[in-house]
Amino acid sequence: MRGLIEENIITEDGEFILNIGPQHPSTHGVLHLKVWLDGETIKKIEPHIGYIHRSIEKMSERLSYRNFIFATSRMDYLAAHINNEACALTIEKALQIEATPRAKFVRTILSELTRLASHQLWWGCTGLDLGAVTPFFYAFREREAIMAIMEETCGARLTQNFMVPGGIMTDIHPNFQQRTKDILEQIKGKYKEYDDIMSGNVIFENRTKGVGYLSKEDAISFGVTGPTARASGVSCDIRKWNPYSAYDQVEFDEILSNGGDCYARYQVRMKEMRQSVSIIEQLIDNIPEGDFQEKTKMVIKLPKGEYYQRVETPRGELGVYLVSDGSANPYRIKYRSPNFSNLSVLPAIAKGYKIGDLVAIMATIDLVIPDIDR
């Protein structure tokens, strides 16, 4: 019809281009993938990004050192707290101060709660992407409880903005410890339920095993980090490599797997949730008394130089590269966001699989689009 249907039909060499996104249910945001198909098999993928680019790096050049921290809440909105922490740590490194012990503990607990909440959402969305709707609601049951703790202590559910250079903004809520312990108990009781509905399901296993294989060499070369890389056997947990906050005072395992496929990535994240619970358990009863904030000047000026701080977000390594020229604003800030590198590997690992697999791969890489675009 009017020449348009011809475009729809598969051309002579079998080239069929499908535009997945920018509005698509399983891209979890405004990601646009141009997919070349042969039947249902993917021949080539070209990611188009920038639909939600807010130039946080450019914006930060005009913000003070106290303010630019909170712009990062909007990058990886599922790990807003950890992004803030990375910035706060960078400033502390430049000022050569350390957060108070109490702040360090609270930061770590909140980071791990953020990780738990993020992994919960990821778990639910993975189920949703693979066509099982129910896990999404199961995941939100626990996530809501964590969000309630965040709300009570930080005053916000998603963009906590609880970090200041030298510590945390206010002291923790009196209920914080008890409620955190309650939610840990609840989550520990639900592992079996999670495994029953997803991990042990034969369709789920068939959909994920051997799908989207990422080799160890590729993972390193593409700069893939986080659970996605750890599922390919790359040891890259910043919490182990460069401990920050209170991570040097807790015992936990870096989860590694050699599977490299979607199933391995799934398992790594599921086990990481257990590790997070164990980290919080070690810390929650031992929060030291004392100040929650180190005294800093009202207007912070960093000494001239370049500073780099890495933290481990739920999706991988977040690097903050800060160049200071001695003034009250950053001269240049670069966020090395984990999702940006993780997305770059998608075209390589999704090639040769089906459209349904692409959805599974995207789900297990766990992309957050605002973090890619920044």
Binding site: M1, L4, I5, E6, I9, I10, T11, D38, G352
Partner: protein, 175 residues
């Protein structure tokens, strides 16, 4: 005019009308859809004749099988949305010729038959009887044509498979 006659004319109109539309339509997908209606009209005629089994088989085989296959092959060809080119004169002439010959042959055949009005059919059109006839070797048995047709279908299926696997699958693991 009784209701039965009215139904007959309606069914015939569907069969002939959509048949003509199927032939004259220049959009191939629509032509396939009209063919579908025509075949369903034929199935309706079988129902009208109380030959329920044949009617259902008509639906299963032609509607559910053949037309779906035709539509699939239309999907896989180019430009199925645009108008088809007008056939050249020679082709149209021979087509018309073959249609006329076919029509005359059919009319001749019908003319030779003596239609005797009867109320009780020679065999009850029941599944059991049809099954017996299909597998019997007696005078009205159809076991030979039945087997021949099944051989033909088998050959067609093998042919389809051979066409389908013309190239080996190499897309995986090339990276």
């Amino acid at each position: 005019m009784s209701a039965s006659v009215i139904i007959f004319y309606i069914l015939s109109a569907i069969v002939l009308g959509s048949g003509i539309l199927a032939v004259t339509n220049s959009k191939i997908f629509r032509a396939a859809v009209f063919l579908l209606f025509s075949l369903m009209g034929v199935a309706g005629l079988y129902f009208y004749l109380n030959n329920n089994f044949i009617a259902a088989v008509q639906m299963v085989v032609y509607v559910g099988g053949i037309v779906v296959l035709i539509i699939f092959s239309i999907f896989l060809t180019q430009a199925s949305g645009s108008d088809m080119a007008k056939p050249n004169m020679g082709r149209a002439f021979f087509s018309a010729l073959s249609v006329i010959i076919g029509l005359m042959f059919t009319l001749l055949f019908i003319g030779e038959q003596k239609f005797i009005s009867t109320t009780n059919p020679s065999i009850e059109p029941e599944v059991k009887n049809i099954g017996r006839q299909m597998l019997s070797t007696t005078e009205h048995g159809f076991v030979l044509p039945f087997e021949l047709v099944s051989m033909l279908l088998l050959a067609a299926m093998i042919g389809c498979i051979v066409i389908a696997i013309k190239r080996p699958i190499t897309h995986l693991k090339e990276n």
